[in-house]
């Protein structure tokens, strides 16, 4: 049985569905939910995600039936049909996607009855049940992708051997998704492949519509989007692999080799790409030699966040930057099986670092784990503690950082103390941005 969550760092499945759809090009989400669901998640999707903004047709503009007592008693299907009809009349989109909140599911409204009235019309209307009680943001992301793959992606008999699809970088919940998608896409371009990411710059709904022509689906996550990949394979016959989200040289090497091997690319070519990227990466990394050594910038580090980010950040800190990320708190809802998979990504570090890995959804516990891991000072004369320390987590960790008097950088959701546009941390050049941000935090407070 699940438990309560103290200061959760995600919204519900409905929020995940809204978030995923609001950044899909020219897609109009239509909410069939209680009055307030739309307004409620809007704040979390905007202000807690580096000030993303309302988008094309979300925030207060998000079409919603605003279901209230009358519909709860008499049923809300007629109201939904009316709302879909008028949304199409008023809002300019290419795909209309109905999503539901808890209440309308509990009273037994069937959105299919409303949706099917628009079959054969000028525009396509699809839908899915995304009520908040099904799970958190990631669940909503998963449900939306599955529905799109089943009901929107066109069947393709002929596959393009140079085309792949990529997902698993979860828009908004990964606040740097836009930058990260561009950076990973760039790495795959360098391997000689074209990539559909559905949410990336310069893509349209056609990238998604025609994505069944791809020869491989790459899920950049061991936890998010995997069920959707299974659906894609089942419906369209495209196989998939899962690879850990890469940040920095060591992470990106693993990524490129795994993808290279799945695509049957010659090892020598993959190694050549890696070598070229390393050349660029370390030409900047070496600039830091003076300040890194003169100021002794190595830090003990706690990493707090989702399973995608924490493994990537920890590997970057341990194996690229030479820091001591000895404690990691993964805050996702995960099954035991998923926890095992996630755990495997925290092993085999070249630096020999073996971080203590905990799975905990409650924000207050981060401070307790720090105390257990490094011990608490009893004002002894000789004391080995969390010093010099650094916290890499979300805006929620600002409290514990302030309490312990250690510097902190906000990189995992929620991010309410930074503005994020096209910045990304993935791959090689993304890791340079991360290095800039981490070390600027240290030198900026001198």
């Amino acid at each position: 049985m699940s438990k309560f969550v103290e200061r959760p760092r995600y919204v519900c499945a409905l929020g995940g569905a809204v978030g995923t759809l609001k950044v899909l090009p020219r897609t109009i989400p239509i909410l069939h939910a209680a009055t307030g669901c739309g307004g409620n998640v809007a704040l979390a999707l905007n202000q807690a995600a580096g000030y993303l903004g309302s988008g094309y047709c979300a925030g207060q503009a998000l079409p919603s039936t605003n279901t209230s007592e009358r519909e709860i008693v008499f049923g809300g299907e007629d109201r939904l049909t009316e709302q879909i009809e008028n949304t199409i009349k008023l809002i300019d989109g290419d795909l209309y996607f109905v999503i539901t909140g808890c209440m309308v599911e509990m009273i037994g409204d069937d959105i299919k009855n409303s949706i099917k009235k628009f079959d054969g019309g000028n525009v396509q209307v699809i839908g899915a049940e995304t009520g908040g009680f099904h799970g958190n943001y990631y669940k909503g992301y998963e449900i939306v992708l599955k529905t799109l793959f089943r009901d929107f992606v066109e069947k393709k008999a002929v596959k393009d051997s140079r085309l792949v699809n990529l997902w698993g970088v979860v828009p908004i919940q990964d606040v740097f998704w836009k930058g990260n998608i561009a950076l990973i896409k760039d790495l795959l371009n360098k391997l000689g492949y074209r990539v559909n990411t559905f949410f990336g710059d310069g893509e349209t709904l056609d990238n998604l519509r025609n994505s069944a022509a791809a020869s491989l689906n790459i899920v950049v996550s061991d936890t998010f989007g995997v069920e959707a990949a299974q659906v894609f394979e089942e419906v369209h016959g495209v196989p998939y692999i899962t690879v850990p989200f890469p940040i920095g040289d060591h992470g990106s090497e693993i990524f490129l080799r795994q993808v290279g091997s799945a695509l049957g690319i010659a090892n020598a070519f993959v190694e050549k790409v890696i070598k070229r990227e390393q050349g660029y990466y370390y030409s900047y990394f070496e600039r830091l030699a003076d300040v890194y050594s003169d100021l002794d910038l190595q830090r003990y580090t706690v990493v707090v966040g989702d399973s995608n980010y924490t493994q990537a950040l920890t590997r970057f800190l341990a194996d690229d930057l030479g820091w001591l990320p000895e404690l990691v708190v993964v805050t996702d809802f995960l099954t035991d099986e998923q926890q095992d998979t996630v755990r495997s990504n925290f092993a085999g570090y070249e630096s020999g670092i073996e971080p203590e890995l905990v799975f905990d959804t409650d924000a207050s516990n981060v401070g307790k784990y720090i105390a257990w891991h490094w011990g608490q000072s009893g004002a002894q004369k000789y004391f080995e503690g969390f010093n010099p320390g650094f916290i890499l987590g979300s805006a929620i960790e600002r409290d514990v950082a302030e309490k312990l008097g250690v510097p902190q950088l906000t990189v995992t959701y929620p991010i309410s103390n930074r503005v994020v546009l096209d910045r990304g941390y993935a791959g090689y050049s993304g890791a340079l941005r991360l290095t800039e941000d981490i070390l600027s935090t240290l030198v900026g407070s001198r």
Binding site: E6, N40, S54, N86, T410
Partner: protein
């Protein structure tokens, strides 16, 4: 008014006959309101709005030394995620040792929908008490537990015997009302039932009675007012209002935002409740009068010269010190008018559309008119008898304002976009959350309120004039946006009646 014995407060549709779907002229709205034929709350196309749970948090997330428990699936109270890590500063302005935001979501899932979520709520309350030792634990009930029948009041009654914190239930289920402002009633209902009243706390009678001390205390109470603040105002606003009240030798107790839970206990020991917003406070003020005999002032909000002066005179009248207040007003207004001249020159003849809460927009419209702007239209979140009174004042005070357009609806930026396209004002003065859309249409924006800026009292008039002038000095940002950003509405929408989707037939 006496709903306090009930577990839950009534919704505003029923209690105030509040309306949230109207489009027409100010004159038309005023006359329809008087005839009692404003009952439309539905649209055949609608956009997202908040619910009473979301708005309840606007007050509740300011209460110091407390823990909020949102009893719901994981997404309700999502605005708290956006506040995490940044809201502590505002609490610290009132108490340097404030903790910042602490909340728990009971994370109701598919199993709980079938089996009930009471166990999770119990464990959350016990955890909150043990982990934080807070003064209050505020339990917010949401749609799902209301529908599955979780009995939160009984759980709280049971657990109150086991925990040290005062546990306060707030019934703010979103589906029950479309009038978001019902939230304020839900919050005050919880506060009135569980935090107000010294009998709820331990006996604090002095060991040795002292008649002189008692007399002094009585005198102090007879000169104490409760200033009922709103979370949309800033600490600077509060300081300006406190300064004015103190000039009249009144003691000021500030409630409810940023208060400590204990501050409510003896809040009935006051001569007068001074509201600055009827939308916010009528439920609390009326109940304090019924239950404790504390009278109240509720008419207007101290925004703009006219309404600040009215507000002060109302208070002074109660204490019989009108002459003194008039002197204060005269001297403040003289000083203010002298410094406003250059801003009035700059702003003269500029046009504005306003959007937000009924009380706030109607008084801000008067302020802007006083600075020389022309009011082309108003958009109110909802409308009730408190708005009607202020609307009539506005119509009486501003020539030709009865012909100005007024649109009632919470959010609904499609109507706003249509109006802005037709009216093309020089500035849109809007409630945060809907302003970006105006910017994308190339219209400069001045936010209707801000938690770090001054809008209220006499200094607030100067600050609004100064900042509005600044905003209009360089409008390149919105001019760039209009060339490159796109709103989602089809082109023909702008040729249609902005109120086409208001459902005129729908009675309640």
């Amino acid at each position: 008014m006496d709903y306090i014995r009930e577990k839950t407060p009534p919704v505003r549709e029923d209690r105030l006959g509040a309306c949230m779907a109207f489009g027409g002229s100010c004159c038309e709205l005023s006359s329809k309101s008087k005839k009692g034929c404003l009952y439309s709350n539905n649209r055949t196309f609608s956009q997202s709005q908040g619910c009473q749970l979301t708005l309840s948090l606007a007050i509740l997330n300011t209460i110091r030394d407390s823990v909020i428990i949102v009893h719901s699936p994981i997404g309700c109270g999502a605005s708290l995620v956006a506040q995490a890590g940044i809201s502590k500063g505002f609490q610290k302005l009132r108490d340097p040792n404030a903790f910042g935001l602490r909340w728990i979501n009971t994370n109701l899932d598919e199993m709980d929908v079938i089996n009930g979520g009471e166990e999770k709520l119990r464990s959350a309350i016990l955890y909150a008490d043990r982990e934080y030792r807070p003064s209050a634990i505020i339990v917010m009930n949401s749609c799902v537990p209301a529908l599955i029948g979780d009995d939160i009041d009984t759980i709280i009654e049971e657990l109150q015997k086991q925990v040290t914190a005062r546990v306060v239930p707030v019934h703010c289920e979103g589906f029950k009302t479309k009038i978001q402002a019902t939230a304020y009633d839900a919050v005050y209902h919880g506060i009135l039932r569980h935090l107000v009243g010294a009998e709820l706390y331990e006996d604090q009678d002095p060991i040795i009675p002292d008649e002189f001390e008692e007399l002094k205390e009585k005198y102090r109470i007879s000169h104490t007012v409760n200033l009922l603040n709103v979370s949309s105002m800033s600490r600077i606003d509060e300081q300006e209002l406190v300064k004015l009240l103190q000039s009249l030798d009144l003691n000021v107790r500030i409630l409810p935002c940023y208060a400590h839970p204990d501050d409510f206990a003896d809040s009935y020991e006051a001569a007068l409740n001074v509201s600055i917003c009827a939308t916010h406070d009528d439920y609390f003020s009326e109940h304090m009068k019924t239950k404790y005999g504390v009278p109240f002032i509720l008419k207007t909000i101290p925004i703009g010269i006219a309404n600040t002066s009215k507000w002060l005179l109302d208070i002074a009248k109660f204490f019989g010190i009108e002459e003194r207040a008039q002197k204060l007003i005269d001297s403040e207004v003289r000083e203010l008018n002298a410094v406003l001249t250059p801003y009035r020159e700059f702003l003269k003849g500029k046009t504005a559309l306003l959007g937000g809460g009924e009380i706030r927009i109607l008084t801000t419209a008067e302020l802007l008119h006083n600075l020389g702007l022309e009011i082309l239209g108003l958009r109110g979140f909802h409308f009730d008898r408190y708005g009607e009174a202020l609307l009539d004042d506005l119509i009486a005070e501003i020539p030709a304002s009865e012909r100005a357009i007024i649109n009632i609806g919470t959010g609904q930026p499609f109507e706003q976009a249509n109006l802005l396209e037709k009216l093309k004002p020089d500035v849109f003065v809007g409630h945060p959350g809907g302003n970006g859309w105006a910017n994308k249409q190339g219209i400069p924006v001045f936010p209707l309120f801000g938690q770090t800026y001054n809008y209220m009292g006499y200094v607030g008039v100067f600050e609004v004039a100064r900042r509005l002038t600044r905003s209009l000095k360089n409008t390149s940002y919105s001019r760039n946006l209009v060339k490159h950003a796109q709103l989602p509405y089809r082109k023909d929408w702008y040729d249609q009646d902005p109120f086409s989707y208001i459902d005129q037939d729908a009675a309640l």
